[in-house]
Symmetry: C2
């Protein structure tokens, strides 16, 4: 069900602005956090930008490994998204606490979150100045995959409501990705 996405199409997984789960691993530890502040940065080779707060365990693991995965969760995982966004991996094993299952990634040590609808495996680009000043990480996407039920032939197909992606607001409030439209240029 999980299928590779060509790297030149990887930006499409993130282009519509869904919330992400950031997974990371180093030295036998791994973690998962929620991040809304993630976006594509380039097409091919694909790059992304994501904000990872300096006080998080994720930051420690990403700094140590130079890798992370951006996982795109579906509505079915909404409660877990809110959960991992409100707990610290320093205090609790968020995988166990929120019933999330790690899967091996193809190209990085950080795990994938099972049940997500898309995955971008990323290697951090050495831009220490913006990391230090803004907690902003720039990274190259080295592998991408998606659940074929919702992303195939380079397009999203949100037919099952429980598999729609999420757009986070604050305080446990989010929107699902809504109706698809095509629009020709014009007034």
């Amino acid at each position: 069900m999980r299928a590779d996405v060509p790297l030149a199409k990887a930006y499409l997984l993130l282009n519509h602005g869904p919330v992400t789960l950031v997974t990371s691993a180093s030295g036998g530890r791994s973690n998962v956090m929620a991040a809304s502040w993630a976006m594509p940065l380039d097409f091919d080779p694909p790059k992304v930008a994501v904000v990872i707060d300096r006080n998080t365990l994720t930051r420690e693991l990403v700094d140590a490994s130079g890798e992370f995965v951006l996982n795109i969760p579906p509505r079915a995982l909404a409660a877990a998204v809110v959960g991992v966004g409100n707990a610290s991996g320093r205090e609790v094993d968020k995988w166990a606490r929120f019933g999330l299952e790690p899967l091996a990634a193809a190209r990085v040590g950080a795990p994938l979150v099972a049940g997500c609808i898309a995955w971008l495996e990323c290697r951090v680009l050495p831009e220490r100045a913006v990391e230090r000043t803004y907690d902003l990480f720039l990274a190259e996407v080295v592998a991408a995959s998606a659940d074929e039920r919702v992303f195939r032939q380079g397009r999203w197909h949100f037919e099952d409501d429980s598999l729609r992606s999420l757009h986070y607001v604050a305080g446990g409030q989010f929107f699902t990705t809504g109706t698809a439209h095509e629009s020709a240029p014009g007034r």
Copy 2:
């Protein structure tokens, strides 16, 4: 109908990942382009990150003025969003061509797009290295406002479908912002 949004709440206008229109002005010229690659970068003072390609007129105007506005368009402006994303301000007056009306901003010289549902007025932060390498602009939000029909008391209220925000994919395809949900942390 347009009401100020407190700066500490400005990130909420962009947090759910909508497509934006970037407006800019310098030396008597102004322009509007579409940008999906925009996200919050900090809460308070609010900052944003946005990718502005080096080959665009917008880039020239932003480089000259150090200012831009991120406008959040509603579904009613979808065709204009696709239009300005597929035309160059060097070749056509995109305001006139796509029937968009500029309004004066409060704190920057770049205009607001009338009929949008939210506006973030931004001043570029001096991060020339990432601008040059990645076309990535980091900026501080110096004023924010929103259409009270859809954003009030620090929350989105998408009741009118024509005023829902948009999430752009590619090739004229986009999603509207869908159903709102609340979720408590847990499985």
